[in-house]
């Protein structure tokens, strides 16, 4: 079993705005493209052109409907590792392959130590871990740890690939351990929430709820009861300027 480091002051994570996600999957494919060829890759695919195409994704978008008929809403729900403060996937790991970084709280897998026993995927209640059957190891979101500190990239690019690519800015990245960070303030303003908080894993990633603006409060005057003749009388004497 693997032990956790002392709680980190810095807790890097994602804030995902369900009010903005249109379900385009850009975050999913940008993640796969970045990580497939990088330090965490490959993210293998089996039967890519066959009957049962399947592969490793660190990030998947699920779509749900909530509520009945027109009163309900459709929610596009991107899901990746939540980098929990109490990650059972780490404590359950028999080899120490799964670990939580002391400096920023990112949960990673050291592939050299992973024996592919899948205990971590059983322990994760969010289904965030993906077994790479080709490589025989467990894989997961790294929060693009090879981007966010990367001095060889311009500062604007030092965010996870999913955050950079998102066309509706539905994904924010930052330090959720700092109450004054832009992500923490946004979570507070928008009443962001934890996924399944009752399980006690204390996920770092937060979700912002869909909000639907009701109709504008102040509206124009009611329609005047007027017939055709009245309508045109109204217009005949109006002087307009070009």
């Amino acid at each position: 079993m693997t032990s956790l480091p002392p709680p980190s002051k810095v807790q890097l994570g994602l804030v995902i705005d369900l009010d903005r996600c249109v379900g385009c999957h850009a975050c999913a494919t940008a993640c796969k493209e970045w990580n497939d060829g990088g330090a965490s890759g490959p993210l293998s695919d089996t039967d890519p052109y066959g009957a049962k195409p399947s592969g490793v994704w660190f990030n998947r978008v699920h779509s749900y409907e909530v509520g009945d008929g027109a009163d309900g809403c459709t929610v596009h729900f991107p899901k990746s590792c939540l980098h929990c403060a109490e990650p059972a996937c780490v404590t359950v790991c028999p080899t120490g392959a799964s670990y939580k970084r002391a400096e920023d709280g990112i949960v990673l897998v050291d592939e050299d130590l992973c024996i592919g026993c899948k205990l971590c995927s059983w322990a994760c209640p969010y289904g965030a871990r993906e077994f790479d059957a080709v490589e025989g190891v467990m894989r997961k979101c790294t929060l693009c740890v090879d981007r966010i500190y990367n001095d060889s990239m311009v500062p604007a690019d030092r965010v996870p690939a999913c955050v950079q690519v998102c066309p509706t800015s539905a994904r924010l990245f930052g330090d959720l351990g700092d109450p004054d960070s832009h992500v923490s303030r946004t979570v507070k303003e928008r009443e962001g929430f934890d996924l399944m908080p009752e399980l006690g894993y204390r996920p770092v990633n937060k979700y912002l709820p869909p909000k639907r603006q009701m109709k504008l409060a102040s509206l124009a005057t009611e329609t005047a009861a007027i017939d055709q003749a009245g309508f045109f009388l109204r217009w005949v004497d109006r002087l307009l300027t070009r």
Partner: protein
């Protein structure tokens, strides 16, 4: 996975090359990263005006497009029966000699026996011009299938439209209403816009039968019944008129609302504008009660009342006719509500909201500007209500007038090209419509005369008809079947070519047009036509088919000769202002693609092949006086070709020193300048040019200098369309060019000078088919030119038929049931999914996911083939003897499909199911694992 000692600052790539994406028509800028000589990843170009660094799900999986095993490898010549997919590989010299032989024979005898159709629109500046030089009018791209109603209604009404022509002022709008966007058009620009709406707290209303994609994040979703959008818009117009909540000053300044219309039923000029001796339209001047020049800036026009012409005939303002129409009972909200499936209170609420935002929440941009008359204004004042609409309202046989009604609503609100409203993207607006007429004059061995193949008729005399009324074009565009077919009629091509109606053709030359599958109606019938032989001669009814594609699409199987194209990372392309530009409302822009990957196959860029063929054929503009090719390749053409003196494919860095924009001599270093700037050029409009472009002196003068407009005259929005009335008069028997007797009622009804709503034709003729059936493209595949990608198909490898849960349960259907979807044309099998966010009279599916077994180098048992399906199989090409199309533009009415559902077993198949295609020579084996 990262070990603990991972180098967190490892360089991610050795080199980065910039070019332009090609997964859809957005044309986003991309940074292509390479490491160790291999493609590492593709990111968005942060400086690019279209995408500002973001990508969509397709753009970010471009690497899998490049690695596709479906890429064609070498030219192919058919060896077996057509459709059997049996070919042998040949060399390019042989392929080009064969093509040149067929084409030279056609050009020598009758150039219109070549039908050259492109499935996609990105190369029209070249392909349309090439057809013109060849001398055939038979050219079009896929717009007639997709959204020509939207484009044509916009061009005839306001000189622009949505999509490439204009966009909402997302930074300033307070209420954004989106009609009928099927997860498409546009992709990233709309998503970036939605992000701004959310950031600014603007309200977003989506009118759409289905609640997915963009509609899912709308503040309000109105689950409208398909084909009734025009009725809803009519009810909104009626409410605004009754509530006296319209911008009358805007109407008399910028539209023809005050122009006087002759009221003389039966006369040859009934319904036309009254004009003075100089041909200038007249209005009724409220200051003195006299007739006056309607274009004068200092008249005080009346919008209602009547006057008499000197000859005593009665005239009334166009506005009065429009108002009388929309005050009619058929647009009463209580009558409209049950037909649209939107309750009356909601419709009235939306009308009040539009009025409230437009007239009580006016915004200003504090920039002085000068209007077309020379009057100075201290600021731009805007009504922050904006709209966007696309194929969902266009692909109906009432689509042209529905789109026109939406533009009318924008005019009444005074919300076109103002702060917070819909805004034109330069080079739009153009005169409504642009002064380009379609050309149809053909003769052996010369270019087409009369204009380019596509254009904008303004009266019956502009139609392309022979002396006896026979259509000039094979697709019958610009005939009485489809008088304003501004994008041509791709969907009619194969049926007409097979039938020899109006005449037989010799060669179909198709470029990236998957017309053997998802770009045709009634696919099984289309497949038969492509392979049918004349029993008398034993020859194919369509003698030759040349096809160019980069991938093994379904249509490859029907080609006699395949000219393999390159991928978007392997070639030069030009996103030209002469084509479908990438401008935005604040600036004009164009862009290029450059090859960033070396070719590893014996394929050639199609545009270069086209120029090569042109030179082999000796076509004007492509051949020097001594018979040698004028251009080395397409990149050379992009730089040196001039359409008019000083105006070429690219507007940036012109002139010998590269210091000219818009007009200027060709600059040999132009492509280098583009590449150094991220492969795009953009010129930002001065602040005083940015709004009211249709009547803004500084903008209009600049547009003339740039070559966008011929004159700096204001562009008058056509609330009332005189060109439409001219066609209607012809249908009443006036003039030399009149429709045949059996078409007169249809033409007279359709060519109403004012927008109107009528139920889609399928409402009447399809008894027993109670459900509307529509499609959308999934966002992960939206508008993909080529639709097989190892990652995208893990997200969606098959489609289901979606239906409202309530409607399904009432019919005894459960989630997961298998059903036959039956129409008057045929049936396909589908698996059902019940959902909440769906209009109760509607079923829908993801389009173009279903694939023919074996195509795209997918395994024959791929889900796309075994469980996927196309609704195209069910869409009739004709209805009641007339094309299943909008009678104004000929737009395919594929959203008017009506169906019924019948339970079936999972493993049932139809008799006309097309067999699996065998493997294609030269393609690699499919990998079992990608790691």
């Amino acid at each position: 996975m990262p070990p603990r000692d991972l180098n967190l600052s490892a360089p991610v790539s050795d080199s980065v090359k910039q070019t332009t994406c090609y997964m859809c028509a957005c044309r986003c800028g991309i940074d292509v990263h390479f490491k160790d000589g291999k493609l590492r990843y593709i990111a968005g170009n942060a400086d690019h005006p279209v995408n500002k660094g973001v990508l969509c799900g397709k753009g970010a999986s471009g690497i899998m497009k490049q690695m596709s095993p479906a890429k064609l490898h070498k030219p192919l010549l058919r060896t077996g029966e057509r459709g059997s997919n049996q070919f042998r590989e040949i060399e390019w010299d042989e392929a080009l000699e064969i093509a040149t032989g067929w084409l030279a024979n056609i050009r020598r005898t009758d150039p219109k026996r070549l039908a050259f159709f492109s499935g996609r629109d990105q190369s029209q500046a070249l392909t349309g011009w090439w057809a013109e030089q060849f001398g055939t009018p038979n050219y079009a791209a896929h717009g007639g299938f997709c959204s020509v109603n939207m484009a044509a209604a916009g061009m005839y009404s306001i000189g622009g439209s949505f999509w490439e022509f204009g966009e909402a002022d997302f930074d300033r709008t307070k209420l954004f209403v989106m009609f009928g966007v099927a997860e498409d058009h546009a992709s990233n620009p709309i998503k970036l816009g939605i992000a701004k709406l959310k950031k600014n707290g603007a309200r977003f209303v989506s009118v759409n039968p289905v609640r997915t994609g963009y509609s899912a994040v709308a503040d309000q979703w109105l689950g409208i019944r398909p084909g009734t959008d025009g009725l809803l818009i009519g009810a909104l117009i009626r409410e605004l008129l009754l509530a006296d909540r319209i911008d009358a000053e805007y109407l008399v300044r910028y539209t023809n609302a005050h122009w006087l219309v002759i009221q003389d039923p039966g006369a040859a000029d009934d319904g036309l504008f009254a004009r003075d001796a100089e041909g200038r339209p007249l209005c009724l001047d409220g200051a003195n009660g006299r007739l006056a020049d309607a274009l004068l800036p200092d008249v005080a026009p009346r919008l209602a009342g009547e006057a008499a012409l000197p000859d005593g005939r009665r005239v009334v303002p166009a506005f009065q006719l429009m108002a009388a129409r929309y005050l009619g009972e058929e647009y009463d909200t209580d009558a409209v509500a049950p037909r649209c499936d939107i309750d009356a209170a909601t419709i009235r609420g939306l009308a009040r909201e539009l009025a409230s935002v437009a007239f009580e929440q006016t915004i200003t941009v504090e920039t002085p500007w000068v209007d077309w008359t020379g009057r100075r204004h201290e600021r731009f004042t805007g009504r922050p209500v904006s709209f966007h609409a696309m194929r969902g309202i266009a692909a109906h046989d009432n689509g042209f007038h529905t789109c026109r009604a939406l533009h009318l609503l924008q005019m009444l609100l005074g919300a076109i090209d103002c702060p917070g409203g819909f805004r034109f993207k330069p080079p739009y607006p153009k005169p409504a419509p642009p002064a380009v007429k379609p050309g149809g004059d053909t003769a052996p061995n010369r270019a087409l005369k009369g204009g380019p193949p596509l254009g904008y008729p303004t009266g019956p005399a502009d139609l392309l008809l022979d002396g006896d009324g026979t259509p000039v074009r094979i697709d019958k565009a610009f005939s009485w079947d489809a008088p304003l077919a501004a994008h041509g009629q791709l969907h009619m091509l194969i049926a007409n070519a097979w039938a020899g109606d109006p005449y037989p053709v010799d060669t179909l030359f198709l470029y990236m047009a998957n017309m053997g599958w998802n770009s045709s109606m009634d696919v099984p019938a289309t497949a038969k036509m492509l392979t049918d032989r004349d029993p008398a001669t034993g020859d194919y009814r369509i003698p030759h088919i040349i096809y160019s594609d980069a991938f093994f699409s379904e249509t490859v199987a029907y080609a006699d000769l395949v000219l393999p194209d390159t991928t978007y990372l392997e070639r030069h392309d030009c996103i030209s202002l002469l084509d479908r530009p990438i401008s935005d409302a604040d600036g004009v822009a164009d862009s290029i693609r450059q090859p960033v990957i070396d070719l590893d196959r014996d394929v050639r860029p199609f545009q270069s092949v086209l120029l090569d063929l042109g030179a082999r054929l000796g076509l004007p503009g492509m051949t020097a006086a001594n018979g040698t090719p004028l251009y080395a390749d397409f990149a050379d053409y992009m730089v040196r070709h001039e359409r008019r003196p000083g105006i070429g494919m690219l507007a940036g860095w012109r002139g010998l020193r590269g210091d000219r924009e818009g007009r200027g001599a060709p600059n040999p270093a132009q492509l280098d300048a583009y590449i150094a700037n991220g492969c795009f050029w953009r010129h930002e409009l001065a602040p005083e040019q940015q709004y009211f472009k249709h009547a803004n002196k500084a903008y209009l003068d600049w547009a003339v200098r740039m070559g966008f407009l011929d004159r700096a005259d204001p562009i008058v929005f056509q609330l009332y369309s005189e060109p439409l009335q001219k066609f209607r008069l012809a249908a009443e028997g006036h003039g030399d060019v009149v429709p045949p007797q059996d078409a007169r009622d249809r033409v007279a009804a359709a060519f109403d000078p004012l927008p109107f709503w009528a139920p889609p034709g399928s409402e009447n003729g399809d008894e027993g088919f109670p459900l509307h059936a529509i499609t959308q493209r999934p966002m992960i595949m939206y508008h993909s030119w080529d639709s097989q990608n190892a990652w995208q198909r893990q997200i969606l490898a098959r489609n289901f038929l979606y239906m409202s849960r309530i409607a399904g349960e009432m019919q005894g259907l459960a989630d997961g049931d298998w059903v036959w979807i039956e129409s008057t044309t045929g049936r396909v099998r589908a698996q059902l999914r019940l959902m909440e966010g769906c209009n109760t009279h509607t079923v829908w599916t993801w389009n173009a996911v279903g694939k023919r077994a074996g195509a795209w180098n997918l395994a024959p048992d791929a889900p796309e083939a075994t469980n996927g399906f196309l609704l195209n199989h069910l869409i009739p090409t004709h209805r009641d003897g007339a094309p299943n199309a909008d009678p104004v533009t000929g737009q395919a009415a594929w959203y008017d499909l009506r169906v019924r559902l019948v339970k079936c077993r999972a493993n049932e198949v139809t008799d006309d199911r097309l067999p699996a295609l065998p493997a294609l020579p030269g393609l690699p084996r499919r990998a079992k694992v990608r790691a």
